[in-house]
């Protein structure tokens, strides 16, 4: 099932489940109607509109896809976005795993507060997120770090909005992880570092990968938190979604759709990664 946020905890059954020949469907009349209605709504809301994006881009012919990307300003925006999203995802892989580790294995007063803090970026409106960051990293920064309107502001905004993804994926897996397994490794002579690298990390890897995929996708498409923060300076702090928005505002739908299709491809890749990862975890049991 790919709609879960957390990979399934290891199943309690011993050995592989018996494989049954499944019928092509087992829908009753009620569930059939339910499926029909939900699919109609899902198509109207999600599938048809997204198809329209791809179709509009394709209507411009093969050049249609190429033109916006050869536009220097757009190409720069894509480069900036992907580079920042990639770097931020790497940071999240390390920091997210560390945060999850501290939340699960450490004990100290105020830890419950940190639990809440992790979810704040997810729940906070993106425009507010931008404003929040501006208050510490804008002009007259109390820290003396005036990152607003520079390329660094993109990294800052991405770090903020993607904070929960790796943490929330890794945390439940770490909680489920049997400490006896680590003790077993230690009894076989493995140092703490070796145990982490060879036993704990492989167990966390699928969750980290899933969190990284979500974090990358979220960063690549981010818009709201950058509006007030980045200044949208071409070739410096202008991201892909801002380019799409200005194409829309100039009524240049083909261009907007072409860039949007590029982002959609990334979204689809992420979903494939999530699906594959969760299937692998389910098999390992």
């Amino acid at each position: 099932m790919s709609v879960q946020l957390e990979p399934r905890p290891p199943s309690l059954t011993v050995g592989p489940a018996p494989r049954r020949r499944t019928p092509s469907h087992n829908l009753t009349r009620t569930s059939g109607i339910g499926l029909g209605l939900t699919m109609t709504w899902f198509s109207l809301l999600v599938l048809i509109p997204l198809a329209a994006v791809v179709a509009t881009a394709a209507a411009g012919g093969p050049d249609g896809f190429g033109r916006p990307v050869t536009n220097e300003q757009t190409a720069a925006a894509i480069r900036i976005t992907v580079l920042a999203a990639f770097s931020v995802t790497l940071v999240n892989v390390v920091m997210g795993t560390m945060i999850a580790w501290v939340l699960v294995r450490d004990r100290f007063p105020g830890k419950a507060l940190l639990e809440l803090v992790i979810d704040v970026p997810f729940a906070l409106p993106t425009i507010v997120a931008g404003l929040v960051l501006l208050s510490l990293y804008g002009n007259d920064s109390p820290l003396g770090l005036e990152l607003a309107n520079t390329g660094w502001s993109i990294y800052l905004a991405f770090l903020f909005v993607t904070l929960p993804f790796v943490v929330r994926m890794v945390q439940p897996v770490l909680e489920e992880l049997d400490q006896e397994v680590e003790e077993a490794a230690a009894s076989l002579g493995a140092s703490r570092l070796t145990t982490f690298r060879r036993i704990v990390l492989p167990a966390l890897a699928p969750a980290i990968a899933a969190g990284a995929a979500l974090s990358f996708a979220r960063a690549v498409g981010e818009y709201g938190s950058l509006v007030l923060l980045s200044g949208n300076l071409p070739f410096e702090s202008e991201v892909t979604s801002v380019r799409i928005l200005s194409a829309i505002e100039n009524d240049n739908r083909a261009t907007a759709a072409a860039i949007a299709t590029l982002l959609l491809v990334i979204s689809l890749l992420v979903i494939v990664v999530l699906d594959v990862v969760q299937r692998r975890v389910a098999r390992r049991g």
Partner: protein, 331 residues
């Protein structure tokens, strides 16, 4: 001696897990730590392994003080109740893990893994993932993994506790045979007296953080140090202020023997070849007697019948201590 434990104590907050444990286990022997849950036997095993550190006392393994030695350096094989399989590694890679940590040459590792998988009858499963094995197979893999490092001592924490009754019995016989082949000093924790009596060379009865008795299965069964040990190793009943086994009571229909007590049969229960008789003595004591069906028939033991009961010659008896006995019953 292979393992020498002197004055080991361990507390968790106010809970005393172990208190003043002294114990010596000879080399090559299969020892069972037997006792009720929460009695401290697992803590003792984990202290021997180095997974816990004692508050006081010392642990000496093969003449070397290991008290402050981390688990990585002790060269002990540890088998966990729930297998602790490395889920992302194949069966063969699981077994190879300790050897890879020790940076053994690749062909040596491969040969050793093959040998061990053959020993635990898992050769054809070498490339499977642990999730594709049954519980019993996983535990055999865990055992092979622990044996691979050629441990000084092999420690097993309730190794068959998570398995169903039939597999449990098979693995128990198999562990005994394996030990006869491999001869590594082995300590296993169990709360199942039948398992301990069947498998172990020597049994250490641990209760409430103390060692109650150490001895061979025969010694413990025939000559229990106290009513707790007696109660933990088999059924008991009381007759005339002593605790003894229900089958160690002589039954007569008349007052022939010296010291025999008169009792009235309250209930008769037939279980296969055995008959279990509940009777109440004139002193008001509830006694359980077990006898063969033939014997019961011959004596016409029916409800309401009057019997004369006395301990059989050579029966193992200990004085009755009502409070201690109750602990044994809870376990």
């Amino acid at each position: 001696m292979s393992i020498d434990i002197t004055g080991v104590s361990k507390r968790y907050g106010h809970f005393v897990a172990l208190e003043g444990i002294d114990l010596s286990l000879p080399r090559g022997q299969l020892t069972a730590l037997l006792g009720p849950s929460g009695g401290g036997k697992t803590t003792l095993l984990r202290i021997i392994a180095g997974l816990e550190t004692p508050d006081t006392g010392s642990v000496v393994i093969e003449g070397k003080d290991a008290t402050r030695l981390p688990v990585q350096k002790r060269n002990v094989g540890f088998v966990f109740q729930h297998y602790a399989a490395f889920k992302h590694l194949s069966v063969a890679r699981n077994v190879a893990f300790g050897l890879e940590i020790r940076k053994k040459p690749e062909d040596e590792v491969r040969a050793k893994v093959e040998e061990l998988l053959a020993l635990v009858h898992l050769s054809q499963f070498a490339d499977r993932l642990p999730s594709q094995l049954s519980g019993g197979q996983r535990q055999r893999m865990a055992l092979a993994r622990a044996l691979a490092i050629e441990p000084t001592v092999l420690l097993l924490d309730e190794p068959f506790g998570a398995l169903d009754a039939k597999v449990r019995k098979e693995l128990r016989d198999w562990l005994r045979r394996l030990h006869d082949e491999v001869h590594v000093t082995t300590v296993f924790v169990t709360h199942d007296q039948e398992e301990a009596l069947e498998v172990a060379d020597e049994i250490v009865v641990v209760n409430q953080g103390r060692v109650e008795q150490v001895g061979t299965p025969d010694q413990l069964y025939d000559d229990p140090a106290n009513d707790f040990v007696m109660g933990f190793l088999g059924e008991t009943t009381t007759l005339g202020g002593v605790v003894l086994r229900p089958h160690d009571i002589e039954v007569d229909r008349g007052p022939g023997r010296a010291g025999a007590q008169e009792a009235v049969v309250v209930r008769v229960l037939r279980v296969g070849f055995e008959v279990r008789v509940s009777a109440e003595t004139t002193a008001g004591e509830q006694v359980t007697v077990s006898m063969t069906r033939t014997h019961a028939k011959a004596l016409h033991v029916d409800e309401g019948a009057t019997l004369w009961l006395c301990p059989a010659v050579g029966a193992a008896t200990v004085p009755s201590m009502p409070f201690r006995l109750r602990d044994g019953v809870v376990a």
